[in-house]
């Protein structure tokens, strides 16, 4: 066995580090990308090579002066922008209230979308109502776009007798079939190739349906990510594959998920058109998603999108991010805050004001509080009523087999 001479200046292999740790002053390079940078290729004829600059650059629409410009400006009317703002504010206030409930023992667990509110809301607004949503736990906002009742969502988070998934899943693992929002699963990444299958079924059945799904930067290291890209590139179904690069997977920095330069460009060698988009720019997100939807609807196949954003909250209520990153890192994030940016845009257009914002926030807060109060009339975490214990045994199979019937009788409830 031969051994190399020890070289104190080199390491045996590379172990990445996060750029900033607790106690560091986070200083990100300012972004060089502007709304004028990138063209908008024809979605129906675009091939992956046409998106090389889009994968390595960043699609933006809102600039420093809070105005929209560039080829990707979706030209949304003020009502649509106000609706987007309202739904994002709803998500933030809803999350804040639910987190308080968790901290006071009224929910077992919670996960916020703080800093990422634009992702699911802008992207779902850009889709058609028949399109399938295949979310992670960080896209509950899509349900607001699809009209889900807040009380129903809170019933689920509590796990009370009105929880539509009957107390079987942790909070935030929503299922909402009426909104074509497919059941959230805890194992990260599994939904990514599943969404390709959903899209293949839509195509097989000749339906004008597109499937959108998301995966985190961390989970993009899973085999499931690569299964999805492989099957999407081979079979070319109408699917929109988003990598939400929010910088952190619990405490694991994104630079442990790939040694490459970014996430979007990983789609190019698969032959899938790939675009990186400013995930805190509501208009850019909307526009890129609309473009991907047009591609899919035209039969041009999948699109791979990196949504560049920042997870402003902890991973979950069980996480304390001050243990592994600077407390004020979000404040230094060059992408800013998605709600503040859309609000500033509407104000710059003369379509919104601070007074309207305050009124909106207080109206939504009242609505969320009222929804919570109504939800606990169906049972709270401490004392129920919970779904009947017999629901442990139902829907394991379409019909209950004899061994589950026996075990249910043994439980005696």
């Amino acid at each position: 066995m031969t051994k190399r001479e020890p070289d104190p200046t080199s390491e045996p292999y590379t172990v990445p580090t996060a750029p900033f740790r607790p106690g560091d002053q986070p200083e990100f390079d300012s972004w060089p990308w502007t709304p004028a940078d990138l063209d908008r290729p024809d979605p129906a004829t675009c091939v992956s090579e046409d998106t090389r600059e889009h994968a390595h650059g960043l699609v933006r629409v809102l600039s420093e002066d809070n105005l929209a410009s560039g080829a990707w400006d979706p030209g949304l009317d003020a009502d649509t922008l106000r609706r987007g703002l309202e739904l994002m504010v709803l998500l933030r206030i809803f999350d804040d209230r639910m987190m308080k409930m968790q901290r006071t023992g009224k929910l077992s667990f919670y996960m916020r979308s703080f800093g990422e509110e634009a992702v699911a809301i802008a992207q779902t607004m850009a889709l058609e109502e028949q399109d399938w949503i295949f979310p992670t736990y960080r896209q509950p906002g899509a349900q607001f776009v699809r009209g889900r009742d807040l009380v129903s969502m809170i019933n689920h988070c509590i796990g009370n007798i009105e929880d539509n998934v009957k107390g079987r899943q942790m909070p935030v693992h929503y299922t909402y079939r009426d909104g074509r929002y497919i059941s959230v699963s805890s194992p990260v990444g599994t939904q990514f190739p599943q969404a390709v299958g959903v899209a293949m079924a839509s195509a097989y059945r000749g339906l004008d349906e597109v499937t959108i799904t998301w995966i985190g930067d961390g989970a993009s290291a899973e085999g499931d990510y690569h299964y999805a890209l492989t099957f999407a590139s081979v079979f070319n179904p109408p699917v929109i594959l988003n990598v939400v690069n929010n910088q952190w997977a619990i405490s694991t920095h994104r630079n442990f998920a790939t040694g490459g330069s970014n996430f979007a460009s990983r789609g190019l060698p698969y032959g899938v058109p790939s675009i990186r988009v400013d995930g805190n720019d509501f208009l850019a997100l909307y526009s890129v998603t609309k473009w991907a939807r047009e591609r899919a609807g035209a039969g041009a196949g999948p699109t791979h999108i990196e949504v560049l954003t920042y997870r402003a909250a902890g991973h979950s209520s069980s996480d304390d991010p001050t243990r592994y990153r600077p407390a004020d890192e979000y404040g230094a994030w060059p992408g800013g805050d998605p709600i503040e940016r859309l609000k500033a845009h509407l104000c710059a257009l003369g379509e919104w004001s601070d007074e309207q914002q305050e009124e909106l926030e207080s109206r939504i807060d009242e609505k969320v509080v009222a929804a919570y109060k109504e939800a606990v009339t169906h049972g709270d975490l401490a004392s129920g009523p919970y779904p009947p214990a017999s629901t442990i045994f139902t829907e394991v199979y379409e019909e209950m087999p004899w061994h589950l019937q026996e075990q249910r009788e043994e439980l005696g409830k």
Binding site: T175, S183, P193, G223, A228, F231, V396
Partner: protein, 336 residues
């Protein structure tokens, strides 16, 4: 009726289901143009078209995931995992996803996936073409687990599996594809003269959850599935003991009445499977039999199984339960 081997019977089931239900699609590694490494899907792509019967990338986890998505969006996917030894990249998708979707979504979503996979030893396949991993799926709530053994039950059970709205893992004993295997590798007959190779050419089903009584006897109950059913026939014959031989056919949910009635009658029970002993499905059967039949039992329950080792290549006949080990176990139950 036509004489079919298991390959032909499975092909017939798939062909009929493709004809009957436009939502049935079939995919897997090498199953399209080529017709599968064991020929089970031979001719199906040519007849039903490349969008219904197609090759997939070599990614078992992807195959299972795609099937999951197709199944929840109205299709009835039937996928092949080329050898059950290669099912493990798909294990997360099967165990955490396919099996759990109906329950976790409160019944709002489900996915009626059928996963076919050749299993078991006897083809000199070494440890990665010979395993029989049924117990790694019987331990997963939400799955039905089927193990065929003859051309007749292969077609009827596969048809039921495809029509079932629950996900089904469908094991096929590759040693028996072209003929029943009685434990002698030097004398492997074809299915040509076997009564269970007379297979209706039309659609029929065998209900999931029902066992098959292969032969009847008063002195001992022998329970087996897959290729071991035929090896047990030989073992019973060699033992000279009159036995009930139960081919379980479906492992989840297994046929309680068939097993309990038989053991209460015979007072003896031998369970035979190829898979390793520890935590094998035979352990579940033994525990269930003693729970339900304790006061009828006249002798300890015997298990004859593969060893708790990796499956070997050139010494596979010392690994797989053979007629002599089975006969000895049956005879031990008579001595108590």
């Amino acid at each position: 009726m036509a004489n079919m081997n298991i390959i032909g019977a499975l092909n017939s089931a798939l062909d009929i289901m493709l004809d009957q239900d436009e939502n049935v699609v079939i995919f897997g590694e090498d199953i399209g143009y080529f017709g599968g490494v064991f020929r089970v899907t031979d001719g199906l792509q040519e007849k039903h078209g490349p969008h219904r019967v197609f090759d997939s990338p070599l990614a078992e986890g992807g195959i299972a995931a795609i099937a999951f998505g197709m199944g929840l969006n109205g299709l009835r996917p039937v996928v092949e995992i080329q050898f059950s030894d290669y099912i493990f990249p798909a294990y997360d998708q099967i165990v955490n996803e396919i099996a759990k979707l109906r329950h976790r979504s409160g019944g709002e979503f489900w996915t009626p996936v059928t996963i076919r996979t050749p299993a078991g030893g006897g083809i000199r396949g070494g440890h990665h073409h010979s395993q029989s991993p049924e117990s790694q799926f019987t331990h997963t709530p939400g799955l039905k687990v089927v193990y065929c053994s003859t051309p007749f039950n292969a077609k009827g059970l596969l048809t039921s599996a495809i029509e079932c709205n629950d996900p089904v893992i469908f094991f096929e004993p590759k040693r028996c594809y072209r003929g029943p295997f009685y434990g002698d590798p030097h004398d492997v007959p074809t299915w040509a003269d076997h009564p269970d190779a007379d297979v209706p050419e039309e659609h029929y089903t065998i209900p999931l959850g029902e066992a098959r009584m292969v032969q009847e006897g008063e002195a001992c109950t022998v329970i087996a599935w897959g290729a071991m059913v035929h090896v047990c026939e030989q073992g019973i014959s060699d033992s000279g003991v009159a036995c009930d031989l139960i081919d379980l056919q479906t492992l989840v949910p297994w046929d309680r009445d068939a097993v309990v009635d038989s053991v209460n009658k015979t007072g003896r029970c031998v369970i035979v499977h190829e898979a390793p002993k520890t935590s094998g499905f035979g352990a579940e059967m033994a525990a269930s039999v003693q729970e339900r039949c304790f006061y009828s039992l006249e002798a300890p329950i015997e298990r004859v199984t593969g060893w708790d080792t990796p499956f070997p290549h050139s010494t596979e006949w010392d690994y797989m339960p053979g007629p002599s080990r089975i006969a000895e176990a049956i005879q031990r139950t008579q001595e108590a």
